[in-house]
Amino acid sequence: MALPLRPLTRGLASAAKGGHGGAGGPPPQDRRAHPAPSAARTWRLLTFVLALPSVALCTFNSYLHSGHRPRPEFRPYQHLRIRTKPYPWGDGNHTLFHNSHVNPLPTGYEHP
């Protein structure tokens, strides 16, 4: 992982085992009022405060950029749309995820 979370997980991993984890935590007399933070609680926090909001933000960003672009002009390049052998499905000339709006055949786009 890119984030330096190793020390955090190590410290809290021992807390998860029930002993006095190296996470620090409150002094003995405070334990009942303030229980030591568990590792699960930390990762749950990270999930709901960092991870899922980032997914939401990226989703929104992708949605904003999702409009249809003008498709590039067709040029019959030799190094693209290669057909050395027909595909074993359909008419053998369409790729598996063929989208006729954006994928031209070797002879050009299928419809205007």
Partner: protein
């Protein structure tokens, strides 16, 4: 009645290795029959027998461990080695495809226009759906860690919740990637760019589906009380595999989507 005086698991005879090998033969010959002779019979038979083998073999592993107690600490240690070695072999599998990508993209041939991306290719914007996909997989790595700690701390409900979130994120990735495949202006037949892109991301997507399936099995087993806070190797193996899938994506994103655009 004889009992063993050691901690190892002497597995009872099983037909599944044989059916697995036969299914592999059917799938490979089936692919050849499909490609060259337009018949899907052998391939279908192969896929069916392969699925049945996996289901029954792993069902038996669960029976031997959870229900019969054969997975003692030394046995579990062997399984850990096994999973680590398997994932290592998968790393090498992907290394080949990255080799192919870098071989072709670091020295683009004159036929491609002498640059990368080649002439006529409009690569996907790495800051749109690919970035979203990255956030989805990283988030799933966080949620699966939450699930693991919850499991170790005996918190049943949170384990279930966190595992569910992880699986849903995996599904979200798969749906996003499928949509990208349909919307992409370039195809697998678009020269070496298309080949390297779709073979590398395609195998990765297959591994996401495999990982999601493994996690779903763990989810069902968790619902059925199979795991304890101290013994849950199936879950750990699934988590390791899932992190591996995440790391492969990060390499794909940086190499193919970002540097390669």
């Amino acid at each position: 009645m004889t009992h063993q005086s050691h901690a190892y698991h002497m597995v009872k005879p099983s037909p599944w290795p044989l059916t697995g090998a036969l299914s592999a033969l059917l799938m490979t010959s089936g692919l050849a029959m499909w490609f060259h002779f337009h018949s899907m019979t052998l391939l279908t038979l192969g896929l069916l027998t392969n699925t049945l083998t996996m289901y029954q073999w792993w069902r038996d592993v669960t029976r031997e461990s959870t229900y019969q107690g054969h997975h003692t600490p030394p046995v579990q240690k062997g399984l850990r080695y096994g999973m680590i070695l398997f994932i290592t072999s998968e790393v090498f599998f992907f290394a080949g495809f990255f080799w192919a990508f870098y071989h072709s993209s670091l020295a683009p041939t004159p036929q491609l226009g002498g640059h990368w991306p080649p002439t006529g290719i409009t690569p996907l914007n790495p800051l749109e759906v690919p970035l979203l996909n990255t956030s989805v997989l990283l988030a799933s790595g966080v949620s699966i860690t939450w699930a693991h700690h919850s499991l170790m701390e005996n918190n049943r409900n949170q384990t279930i919740q966190a595992l569910l979130i992880t699986i849903l994120l995996g599904l979200y990735f798969t749906l996003l990637q499928a949509s990208e495949y349909f919307e992409s202006p370039f195809t697998i037949s678009d020269g070496i760019y298309g080949s390297t892109f779709f073979v590398a991301t395609g195998f990765h997507g297959l591994h996401v589906i495999i990982g999601s399936t493994f996690l779903t099995i763990c989810f069902i087993r968790q619902l059925m009380f199979h795991f304890t806070s101290k013994h849950h190797f199936g879950f750990e193996a699934a988590a390791w595999y899932w992190h591996f899938v995440d790391v492969v994506w990060l390499f794909l994103y940086v190499s193919i989507y970002w540097w390669g655009s």
